[in-house]
């Protein structure tokens, strides 16, 4: 057993060269600490953007590699990752990405804008969000599905909070008005269990679907349950 001085056990399997070709998900699961997969991960970000899919693990893996080798960082790719993370709200993915991006990079204009947008969404300031988003179309247009994703988040937060929400509040949150809003509400009435209450003076109310967060009686009282493993421990006594 001679003394082997290793250069750190660096694995050198590349992704699609001789023989086996791994999917990016497999690479991230099996061999994430490998500088060679950086180009694959960058391509994968662009793929997520164009095919409207999303993979947090792969994106975090790439941000880590950028952290290890800052000279290889592409701010354009990072911006795309952040936009995708915004679209994943209410999940905290945006913050998770920020933790891995050096402060001086976060000082660049496009990132400052994205951070402001995230701030507005985190604090439910939807009107300010849509105003700012309109000014930053160049950043957001490149990622298809952005508007819909944010609208879905807005509806999620409204559903946590309201049993009956005024139409005007909904309109501001999802940035749709007039006939388009009518159509939108119609669609959700047919498919998502919304109910419009007419006959209200100021602004018609929309009843959102019931869930355990806006209807307390639906909340399962999990505290009363006893895990099976605990009961199983007294089987010897009972038996």
């Amino acid at each position: 057993m001679g003394r082997e001085i290793s250069s750190g056990g660096q694995k050198s399997s590349s992704s699609s060269s001789a023989g086996m070709s791994y999917t990016v998900e497999q690479l991230v699961a099996v061999n994430p600490y490998n500088p060679d997969i950086l180009p694959d991960l960058e391509n994968f970000v662009n793929e997520q953007v164009s095919s409207q899919t999303y993979n947090l693990d792969a994106n975090l893996c790439l941000l880590r590699l950028y952290q290890f080798e800052p000279e290889r960082m592409s701010t354009q790719i990072v911006a795309r990752i952040l936009v995708k993370a915004l679209m994943a709200m209410p999940a905290p993915d945006f913050s998770l990405c920020l933790f891995l991006i050096p402060e001086r990079v976060q000082m660049e204009e496009q990132f400052k804008t994205l951070i402001v947008l995230s701030h507005y969404l985190e604090t439910a300031r939807f009107r300010q969000f849509w105003d700012e988003a309109a000014k930053s179309r160049h950043l957001l247009e490149v990622v298809p599905g952005f508007e819909q994703a944010i609208q879905a988040y807005a509806i999620h937060v409204l559903s946590l909070t309201y049993q009956k929400v005024p139409r005007s509040v909904l309109a501001e949150a999802i940035n749709i008005e007039g006939l388009s809003l009518d159509k939108f509400v119609e669609h959700h009435t047919a498919n998502s269990g919304w109910v419009v209450e007419k006959g209200h003076v100021k602004s018609p109310l929309i009843t959102l679907p019931s869930n355990e967060f806006n209807r307390p009686e639906l909340k399962k009282n999990t505290a009363d349950g006893v895990p099976f493993e605990h009961v199983a421990r007294i089987f010897p006594i009972l038996g």
Binding site: Y33, N34, L60, S95, A124
Partner: protein, 518 residues
């Protein structure tokens, strides 16, 4: 008791080998006896004896003879142990660990220690090791490996006062403590040991691992398996140091924290696991998960720390204990869920941080200063993993990583600023109109609506599977412009109570049976 961030663990004294009285080739008799006996016990797989020597004899000798000098060099002791390659690697590992703890390693020594870990792990990964070593030792190896990596990154990031010689060495040995190397070794240990599969199969009764505390009673070796197991915790730790909390927690998934396991067999590993798990959840805004685990471990430490008073880990245990109280104080200030905290822990918490917590919940400037103070005291020593820039002017950038994490954390705290005001009123009313509450909070109605939405968003955490669960101790729903407060009934855990009483009664009956009537 906030401590300056830059506090390095261990004593900072004069570097060892220059000490007048140190001769690396001189082997005092007690050391000769120590290595001979340790070598024999390892060969004969007497795990208990190995543990005694490792925990006690090594410490006693260090205290007595090597208080501020290194142990004799490995070359000097090798002849007494048949020049056994693996034993020498183990000895060197202990040698460096002692150096780091009592003295200040030079750059060359840091590099040599890295080389030793490479060799040691390579030997283990090749599967040719036939030893059984105590879990304490195996944990210490992984723990020390990550610690030395963290220490190296901190050291390397202080470029300002580096000598030309040091810079030349850094450039020459750029692979030493390279982040890829560290992560890949830990990953390799996890994979080669197949520990994840073993744990899976254990759930179905096809494997025995936890039941034997990781030891192999079939004549094999526990080293690779247990190193693989502890490496999962090592990976969690490294990812926290990098700021990647999501992946860190993912690395820990195979370990079920609701049960005892090999991770609880060594107190150092138990504490490191929960500390990092809790911290990661705190940064992920999963406050309830963090509070639950901090509560459990703090209670455990309270009950058991007296048994560790003589152990070399005692100081570390106390330090982590204090840090976790600080993290618990932060978590509870952001997510007041006092019911989750046990009596004893709660009273300790009040004693240490009661006053500060009251001020933190005001969310004014003073409060932010306190969040800053507690976070800085309790957080891991974040690192910048990339290679340094050797361009002039040379700067110190060792605080950069910490500053970023702190900044983002305080940013999150600020976003939650207005929520405690809402909570106060919700606790007092069962229903209240938007208009009235807006007046009380001195904001207009639209602003109040956004505050209420923020409250809901921030108190409903999303777990890694996308499931939403409420953190809130006070909740509500809105019907047009009326706010209805949801009363949460205190949950009486009848099930638990009856289970406990059944077991207790059984115990009493067994005792009574044992009584022999004269």
């Amino acid at each position: 008791m906030a401590m300056p961030y830059d506090y390095e663990d261990g004593h900072q004294q004069q570097s060892g080998p220059d000490s007048l009285s140190y001769d690396p080739s001189f082997v005092p008799d007690p050391v000769k006896s120590f290595v001979v006996h340790l070598y024999r016990h390892i060969r004969e797989k007497n795990v208990y004896e190995i543990h005694q020597m490792y925990e006690n004899s090594f410490q006693t000798l260090s205290e007595r003879m090597f208080k501020d000098v290194p142990w004799p060099s490995v070359d000097a002791v090798a002849p007494f142990v048949d020049n056994d390659h693996v034993f020498c690697l183990l000895y060197r590992e202990m040698w460096f660990r002692h150096l780091y703890a009592r003295l200040s390693p030079t750059l060359k020594q840091r590099i040599d220690s890295w080389d030793n870990y490479c060799s040691l792990f390579q030997v283990v990964l090749h599967g040719v090791v036939n030893m059984q070593l105590p879990n304490q030792w195996l944990w210490d190896m992984v723990d020390e490996f990550v610690y030395q990596f963290q220490s190296f990154c901190q050291y390397r990031a202080k470029m300002k006062n580096k000598t030309e010689q040091e810079i030349a060495l850094l450039k020459q040995f750029d692979q030493a403590w390279n982040v890829y190397g560290v992560l890949n070794f830990l990953q390799a240990l996890v994979e080669k040991s197949m520990i994840i599969q073993i744990l899976e199969q254990e759930k179905e009764g096809l494997e025995q691992f936890t039941a034997t505390d990781g030891y192999d009673y079939n004549g094999g070796s526990n080293v690779l398996k247990v190193l693989g197991y502890f490496s999962m915790i090592g990976l969690l730790r490294v990812h926290c140091l990098l700021g990647d909390y999501h992946t860190g927690l993912k690395c820990l998934l195979p370990i079920d924290l609701s049960q005892q396991g090999v991770y609880t067999s060594v107190i150092g590993s138990h504490i490191a696991t929960i500390y990092h798990y809790g911290f990661a959840n705190l940064m992920l805004r999963r406050y309830v998960d963090a509070i639950r685990e901090f509560n459990k471990i703090l209670l455990y430490i309270y009950k058991t720390k007296q048994y560790h008073q003589k152990s070399p880990q005692y100081e570390q245990i106390l330090k982590k204990n204090e840090q976790m109280y600080a993290l618990l104080a932060i978590s509870l200030s952001l997510c007041p869920q006092v019911k989750l905290v046990e009596e004893t822990v709660n009273s300790q918490l009040r004693e240490k941080y009661g006053e500060k917590m009251l001020r933190m919940q005001r969310f004014d400037d003073e409060a932010f200063a306190l969040y800053d103070e507690l976070f800085s005291y309790a957080c891991p020593k974040f690192i910048t993993p990339s290679a340094p820039s050797f361009e002039e002017p040379l700067v110190n950038y060792n605080q950069d990583a910490y500053r970023l994490q702190l900044k983002l954390f305080l940013y999150e705290v600020k976003q939650q600023q207005l929520l405690s005001g809402v909570r106060t009123f919700l606790k007092v009313y069962s229903t209240i109109s938007m208009g009235k509450l807006a007046t009380y909070l001195e904001v207009d109605e639209p602003t109040l609506r956004t505050i209420l939405l923020t409250y809901k968003h921030k108190t409903h955490a999303v777990d890694s599977d996308g499931k939403i669960s409420s953190n809130a101790d006070v909740d509500f729903y809105v019907d047009d412009d009326m706010i209805h407060v949801i009363e949460s009934k205190p949950a009486k855990r009848y099930g638990d109570y009856f289970l406990r009483q059944i077991v207790k009664l059984e115990g009493v009956m067994t005792d009574v049976d044992r009584v022999k009537l004269e």
